[in-house]
Symmetry: D2
Subunit: 368 residues, 4 copies
């Protein structure tokens, strides 16, 4: 009933606040026998980490992960894997002036109304910092998927504010501060961000995530469809306001004669569906897009009220990302990995004995 | 782990196939003492029912609901409410020719790969008919929300294929076959559908759903955020490929100085957020949009394969909706009602004792 | 959160009241492809059915089960299996006089305090009749266990009131009204029951259930241990007040030098543990015992109060079992089957890939 | 599906191994606003701690608890409360010789068969040490129950091996090493334990736990009955082989005319039921008893096999409790507290609005 646990067969329970002593998670249900050390997890945390370029928050967090349990002599044991990340940069004095007001576009007001109190320390639990344990857990799922199914997951930025970022190749993603799959547009993106920072404003972004070599047959109709769970996970990322799968909102103006992906002896002829039919994976690439709103913490003053309802204005100083979308790709990748692993385990609980009356069609990759 | 149950504090377990003996659901967790009869449920089923205009499938189903349990002398008892809908129009012979091929854009292929068999009877469990039990359950949730919180939920079509439908007023919705909130555009929509039907093709649609008088404080951070659960529920509706909340994909090109909704002594100044901040309801209207793909069952032939992987072509006869979006508004309403009731019950499990240190701000509606 | 669903990977959702229109359940998660018809379920229902001897309630219920979904052409499809049992003998007028008082030893009082109302129709949801859907679901699990693992489950009465029933052999169980594994003691049991009925009183009983050919490795440490889940299921049967596994309460006075079952090259040397170590099945027989209290509905008058707290006396007429334990063996068997199947599916979700570094020890049966 | 999470509305997720870096838990769902510091938790941990007398294991563990999250300025915030206990006495070399054999009566064999590996470090996850996080979480629940409902929970030893311990008063419990509610029998218990230790053997025990001022109406029929959940929790404690509620196995030989507790204007006349009717609390004291087996780790040699199935003998050195029952009372208390709090929150999710048509009967305590 409380909501800090994700998944069914693979369960991740998240804890912590941005300026408390530590954040972390407990991963339950990971199969035993998989090689795992902190070195498998740290790189994904480093990709999400703040302070890596001038375009993201200058908060300095090592985000050093410690495995507390569930691994013995370098292999998972099948028992819960607890991951701990100590908070090291807790300058909560930055936030002292926020105690009595509500930042527009922030969760301050809703937390206060739900729980009856304010935790002014950098947003407390609503901070984007709490995506770090999810990213750490996602690294475990990503490793399992790769080793058992060859599944790969990669995310990138496809629009920064009003600038569309053409896809040139995934090899570019690691070589710029924006997770852009593009080598030529980077100076323009940097200029855009610098101007924004000077203006004290922020902008939105669009992220795309793809999974390849996805096992066929993952997803539980009727309610826990694979696409439904993807939408749940992506919309739950801080600042996300929209999620699309396959052709997404483009389907509204499509015709059925165009949309339905034809089956050929050597596979599907197209992928308008984005890898899911009837809530179950087809074996094609999963194609997911998400829209992230502009950061609400900006230097430009906005009207607000205090806790007694009196009008005030607020400009947020502190250290903030002018575009939260910039660091969102690793988060979306992690969630997609966790979901796919969860569904792969769920699938084999029920369907491990399924033998097709005929062998899978040549060219149609075997799954599950 | 299996996926046929929706919700946590209010749980709906769905069963049935489109051409089996019956479909239905079991609702567990409804508070006791609420007046309830079949007459409270039937109208919502009738709104979703096929065969009501020439623009939807001509299948004739009474969709007559029977309450099997959980109600005594016209009031809920607190025990599970089982709802039964007998299938009456089971012309499965229409589907006999589909046994050995996979309809493009349909779940035939993925069900076969997941479960190892084909149920050719109108799609079996993947049929849109299985939204009927959800709609029936939603009627119960909707009644509880209205009576306890004054919450109202209404959905409408905002685009039919490439035709945008301007919002004129909710009072028009019940007076046309399209759930259009518009009185003047109906002839054009009818022409559009008639042309489509003559062409044997289908089109997509966009639906908008809104909830008013939403209690403040609903939603469980970190993972079970209210918006995450809305995205899950909406993406799980047959044919949905995209979900937006508030400004949705429009946020990508927005500035933070525009997006963040300012708080005023008498309420919020705008609703870019669509009623959710940090995954928790603000008390403003919930604003949700979904994109539905064009029906895959069309008369125009498409390439496919049979179960041995040999190429074939397929044109779907049978009785199908040329635009599944037309009947989607009541389904989206039902799911939003179920989610809000679930979260209202979850909220009071943890937070029933919360007393704000100060009374809620005048003009900011009390919630939860 | 509401409690009408049992299990995790195999989920049974129970609905209905003893004198409403119908009772039943929805089984979700059953693997596809298993042969299943009503004829596989009805015999277990018939074993539990009332009215089969003069020693149980004379209520006449056909307990005819109908499969509403999840089976196509005689095989499970992997989608939810809904089972419906119509109530046919609803003489609720028998209970009209109970509306304003609380029967001692019954759930009348607690339901009233929990839900704020009385359902006087034979106990409504608290009736032992609601074990029928569990028994029906158990028949499905029992079939799956037998076919996939060779697991057998059998229960019997080991004490009727103060009479101990020596175990002579399971072949006797089906040949007497008491589920007694004994051929010689039956006349004495019959006399005991006849005397009790004449006195208008009731008595307790002890039931033993055993499972053979149990897969090794079932059970989830830390909390969802196999023995913990067995205790949960058995204590949840109406009237049960105690549960033992293996040597049960006998371990209090044992020494460790006696209790610990030694391992031999050809298997365990003894079974004090009752088939579970550390919450995980050992592959030995599961040995479970339960104590059932005497029926509270007796003809002998007892003191009670009415809903306004005024003293009254109550003697229960109606049709009741003078020993609810008599019909308990099929119920305990069904629950043990459901639990074992649930844990077998859960086990393979996480551990399907486990390969022992050495083959299982000869003589130690392979499991899971 | 994995089993390391306990509860529904109040969820405790447990992690760690006895000789890994740390053990702990995450408590999700605790209402906000409750005063809480480590000082509220440490005393319960200290009661369970090893090394406190010569009658328990001499392992020295500080069991120092650290609150990592969920508390701000001394009050719960409503977000997950993570508790961390570092392991400080990890002499795993003691266990090096166990790597290749299976200790009789231990989980070594079943873990190996389930997960495919051995964790010889003091039992790893199957160690009784893993009850420490449960005890810590229980302290939080106990505090909430006491402050919101006045509920008290106390456990004691009622039999040590074959020695029955007469109940003289709960005030004695804290003044001896056995949790015995008795002042006069202590020397005899000490002699018993000393003789056992000299013999290198171990013995069983029986524990009784009671809760007072229990709210009326807790428990979810049909499956998640309060007594079913109690049996689950108690049977899940290491070494427990039997659970009784109220008259327990004594009901087998009882008559209904004796068992059914009569209701009087000022309350129940007796408590054979042990505080539960129909799976729902009556408001009377909850009365629970559990049987714990003798420790399997003894110095007396027993036959066993190695991982290749060859016969061997085994005597356990290391540091072990000769009677695990001695430290069981605080564990049973903690689990009862967690269960009652979970059910209190679940109850108000569904039934917060219940108003009895008449006020509760005078003398019958108000609940929920």
């Amino acid at each position: 009933m409380p909501g800090s646990t994700l998944g069914e067969a693979l369960r991740v329970t998240n804890f912590g606040e941005s300026h408390g002593p530590a954040i972390g998670c407990v991963i339950d249900g990971c199969p035993p026998g998989m090689a795992l050390t902190e070195a498998d997890i740290q790189p994904d945390l480093d990709r999400r980490r703040p302070g890596t370029s001038r375009h993201v928050t200058q908060r300095q967090e090592a985000d050093h992960v410690e495995i507390l349990s569930g691994v013995f002599e370098g292999r998972t044991t099948g028992t819960p894997i607890a991951l701990l990340i100590r908070n090291t940069d807790q300058r909560s004095k930055d936030y002292a002036n926020l105690l009595d007001t509500f930042r527009p576009g922030h969760a301050d007001y809703t937390y206060w109304r739900k729980y009856g109190h304010r935790d002014p320390r950098g947003g407390g639990r609503s901070s984007a910092r709490l995506t770090a344990p999810t990213v750490a857990a996602g690294a475990v799922a990503r490793k399992w998927l790769r080793e058992t199914h060859g599944t790969g997951i990669v995310g990138w930025m496809s629009a920064l504010g009003e600038i569309e970022i053409p896809f040139e190749g995934t090899e570019h993603i690691a070589h710029n501060a924006f997770f852009a799959p593009n080598a030529t547009l980077i100076p323009r993106l940097e200029e855009h961000m610098d101007a924004l920072r000077r203006a004290g404003d922020s902008c939105g972004a669009r992220i795309e995530v793809r999974a390849t070599n996805v096992p066929v047959g993952l997803g539980e109709p009727l309610y826990d469809k694979l696409d439904a769970d993807i939408a749940y996970a992506m919309m739950g990322i801080n600042a996300v306001k929209g999620v699309e799968i396959g052709d997404g909102f483009g389907v509204v103006a499509q015709r059925g004669s165009v949309h339905g992906d034809e089956l050929m002896p050597d596979g599907f002829a197209s992928n308008h569906a984005g890898g899911v039919l009837g809530g179950i994976s087809t074996g094609q690439d999963l194609v997911v897009r998400l829209a992230l709103k502009p950061t609400s913490s900006i230097r430009i003053a906005k009207a607000s009220i205090d806790r007694e309802g009196r009008p005030t204005t607020l400009e947020t100083l502190g250290r903030h990302d002018p575009c939260v979308g910039i660091r969102a790709a690793p988060i979306a990748e992690a969630l997609l990995a966790l979901l796919l692993m969860d569904h792969a385990l769920r699938h084999r609980a029920q369907c491990a004995d399924v033998r097709l009356p005929l062998p899978p069609i040549p060219g149609h990759r075997a799954g599950g």
